[in-house]
């Protein structure tokens, strides 16, 4: 009688799932951080300068 083929350990599936979730989370975080940095940068750019000179039509 042959021994049954050893089944893949179940935990490896969990490990792969966890790894995929990790990558997904990292991706989401990276995109979010990039977007937040872009939006924050744009907002920062629109903050009025505390020192400014301007010409007003007479």
């Amino acid at each position: 009688m042959m021994d049954p083929a050893p089944s893949r350990p179940r935990r490896s599936i969990y490990r792969r799932l966890a790894r995929a979730a990790g990558w997904l989370l990292a991706g989401v975080l990276a995109v979010t951080a990039t977007l937040a940095a872009a939006v924050g940068g744009l907002l920062w750019f629109t903050l009025p300068a505390s020192h400014e000179e301007a010409a007003i039509p007479a």
Binding site: L42, F45, T46, A49, H51, E53, A54, I56, P57, A58
Partner: protein, 734 residues
């Protein structure tokens, strides 16, 4: 022109002339509030749908039908050249900012593109908007008409008790076809209501002027705090302006080239709203295609076409009609069937000189000159408090209609001419008080005119609970200081609560949570403290009672026909006829009061825990300042709001008005000013939440904590620290 900015972001403007100062103010308004300016002109012009799509269509239709911008254009043409110069200079200041920054004029424009140039007509829209916000009688009239198919005129009148001794009674609505009441209800539903954008709950305010004899300085003192919607950024913007001919300081309103409430070198001024009835709804009679009935026979409507552009949707074309009374408001509804309703509004009538009056007030050198300016401010109808070094006074701004008949409290037939307006009362024909013998003059929106005053100002008056407390404090022995006045502005004693808590204590309650809650009222002095349970229990109890009574009668809880305090006061007052309570409560109101406390405390327990002794007013009563547009976007709304626990309620001098069924305060005294006529540079100010409209700015919420604590700042010539400098030079090349 040079501008220094202190650490709070308050500008101190130095300019050589009135026009230069206006240009500099326009520049700093644009710098800090450009998107607010954009929303102001778009909302008043009926152009919000271009920005936000069809969800703003209701407000756009309303504004186009009422024709605020259409009328502002005509008014600008009739302004004196001196005043036009100031408005044009202000527009140049705003446009200098726009030209320099384009779509980076404010964060919101990054997506929207650079704003259009500001025009002098845009500035006139602020007064037009206030003329509409500070006079809401037309909606009360519509609400009464809408209720007329379910309630008798007597019951409708009780929803907003009139003054004892005042003339007039609600008309019997039976004269109208049943469809008219339905049309009024449908129109009311179609109108945007608070908390939708660019709408307001009731508008109120406090002010008092103390004469020299009662003042510790030997010169008059003045205090004022208008109550309007809380927004982020706020409606007000502090500024100090220095010119060779004087100094101005106080609350400015972005869009307007001057000080709205504040001081110049000789006088200080502030306003309270009067609740004057300056709007009448008429039920018109159609007389064939394009015609309506008048006492002189059929007459054609005046018409114009308005095109509303809607973001991502086809344009909406409005065929606006006007009768001899004013705009056909039934056209605000998209459906064209039903009754023909028009409205007369004093603020929409020809002859508006509000802008000139406002500039004349800024230029006034004495109480007498301010009184002359008050007569020129044709709308809204406000009590204008003024003090100079010798005198204190109350003048009434605006125009109050004189009717052929009736009290303007409910819609009337437009065809017969019996209720037409014959003209206006204004200036000294309206209540005026100069140096009263009592030594002070105060107002918190209760009527100034006695019931037998020759001019009928309006039926629907506000209750006098806040002024009772102001009187109590001002009549106490001793002379008053500026500190006393500033402390008074944050007073949280409720004369309303003191008056009615004994009625509530007498209500029989079964054993249980409700009785435990009511026990918190036993030794309560009526102080609306944030750290006490009693104000919360009192407020929740009466709020639920009001809801229950109105629901039982089939009256919408938010109906403009219902006075917030007057109706509840009527039901609780021992002097009220028992038949009134039977009509509304089905007997003495005690059973409904007991049931209301039972259900209100059940809700509070679910939120705050079982023990009423641990509940705190401040846990739920927070002042909330929201962005007028971003507040509707999930997550972003929460990120762009400011909130802080506050004491007080609708009945306290430190007035905080909550939404129906919710204790968040969304309306109150976002600006407070106290003025010392012995040395006007010692005058003190606060606004909230801050100066900048840029949500990342350090000054966007800079006053929030100080305002909540009742603190104030001076706007003297030298700031405590200079954080910025702006230099504006005239460009003669353009």
């Amino acid at each position: 022109m040079s501008i220094t900015l202190d650490r709070d972001g308050v500008p101190r403007i130095r300019a050589a002339s009135e026009a230069d100062a206006a240009a500099a103010l326009g520049f700093v308004h644009a710098r800090d509030r450009m998107f607010q300016l954009e929303l102001l002109r778009r909302s008043a012009s009926g152009r919000l749908s271009e920005l936000v799509g069809s969800r703003a269509l209701a407000i756009d239709r309303e504004m186009r039908v009422l024709g605020l911008r259409y009328r502002a254009v005509a008014e600008y043409r009739s302004l004196p050249s001196d005043d036009r110069v100031v408005l044009e200079a202000y527009a140049r200041g705003v446009n200098a900012w726009i030209d320099a920054h384009g779509r980076f004029s404010a964060p919101e424009f990054i997506l929207l593109g650079a704003p259009d140039h500001w025009t002098p007509v845009d500035s006139l829209l602020w007064a037009k908007t206030m003329g509409l916000w500070l006079a809401g009688n037309w909606q009360q009239e519509l609400a009464r008409l809408a209720l007329s198919h379910t309630l008798s005129p007597e019951r409708i009148a009780e929803l907003w008790p009139g003054r004892a001794g005042a003339p007039g009674a609600l008309p019997h609505f039976a004269a109208y076809q049943p469809g008219v009441a339905v049309a009024a209800a449908e129109l009311l539903d179609a109108l945007p209501h608070f908390p939708e954008p660019f709408t307001l709950p009731s508008t109120e305010s406090n002010a008092w002027a103390v004469g020299a004899a009662l003042s510790a300085t030997g010169s008059p003192l003045l205090a004022g705090d208008p109550h309007l919607l809380y927004t982020l950024p706020g409606l007000w913007y502090l500024a100090r302006i220095e010119r060779p001919d004087g100094v101005w300081a106080g609350a400015t309103a972005p869009g307007v080239p001057g000080i709205m409430m504040g001081r110049n070198s000789a006088i200080a001024w502030t306003f309270t709203t009067t609740g004057a009835d300056t709007q009448d709804v008429f039920v018109e009679t159609p007389a064939g295609q394009g015609l309506y009935t008048t006492p002189d026979g059929p007459r054609p409507f005046a018409t114009r076409e308005e095109v509303i552009r809607v973001r991502a949707e086809p344009d909406v074309v409005l065929h606006v009609r006007e009768t001899r009374h004013g705009p056909v408001i039934s056209d605000i509804r998209p459906a064209t069937d039903g009754a023909l309703l028009s409205v007369s509004m004093a603020s929409l009538e020809p002859g508006e000189t509000a802008a000139s009056g406002f500039l004349a007030l800024n230029r006034a050198h004495s109480v007498a000159e301010a009184g002359a300016a008050a007569a020129m401010i044709t709308s809204p109808v406000q009590n204008m408090f003024v003090a100079d070094a010798q005198h204190i006074a109350l003048f009434t701004t605006g125009r109050v209609p004189i009717r052929r008949a009736g009290d303007g409290s409910a819609p009337v037939s437009g065809a017969d001419g019996l209720h037409d307006w014959l003209g206006f009362a204004s200036g000294r024909q309206l209540p005026t008080i100069l140096d009263p013998a009592i030594g002070y003059v105060a107002n918190a929106n209760e009527p100034v005119a006695p019931p037998d005053f020759p001019v009928f100002v309006g039926r629907d008056t506000q209750t006098s609970w806040r002024v009772q407390r102001i009187d109590e404090l001002l009549r106490a022995p001793g002379k008053r200081t500026l500190d006393d006045l500033a402390r008074m502005q944050t007073d949280i004693a409720s004369a309303f609560a003191r008056h009615f808590v004994p009625v509530l204590r007498a209500v029989a309650l079964p054993e249980g949570r409700a009785r435990l809650a009511a026990a918190q009222l036993q030794d309560w002095d009526g102080a609306m403290s944030a750290d006490r349970p009693a104000p919360l229990i009192f407020g929740a109890w009466l709020t639920r009672f009001r809801e229950d009574v109105l629901r039982r009668a089939g009256v919408p809880e938010r109906s403009p026909a219902v006075s917030q305090l007057g109706f509840v006061g009527l039901l609780l007052s021992p002097e009220t006829d028992a038949a009134v309570r039977v009509a509304w409560c089905g007997g003495p109101c005690d059973a409904m009061l007991a049931a209301a406390l039972e259900s209100a405390t059940a809700d509070l327990a679910a939120q705050l825990g079982d023990d009423p002794a641990t509940w705190r007013w401040g846990a739920v009563h927070q002042a909330v300042f929201s962005h007028p547009v971003l507040r509707f976007i999930p997550l972003l709304g929460a990120l762009t709001e400011a909130r802080i626990a506050v004491p007080g309620d609708t009945t306290t001098i430190n007035r905080q008005e909550a939404l129906f069924g919710n204790f968040e305060s969304v309306h109150g005294g976002a600006y407070r000013g106290v003025y010392d006529l012995a040395d006007l540079d010692r005058s003190r100010f606060i606004t909230t939440p801050g100066q900048s409209g840029h949500l990342l700015s350090a000054t966007a919420r800079v006053f929030l904590q100080r305002w909540a604590k009742g603190e104030t700042i001076e706007l003297g010539p030298v700031p405590t620290a200079i954080e910025g400098r702006l230099l504006l030079t005239p460009d003669t090349s353009q």
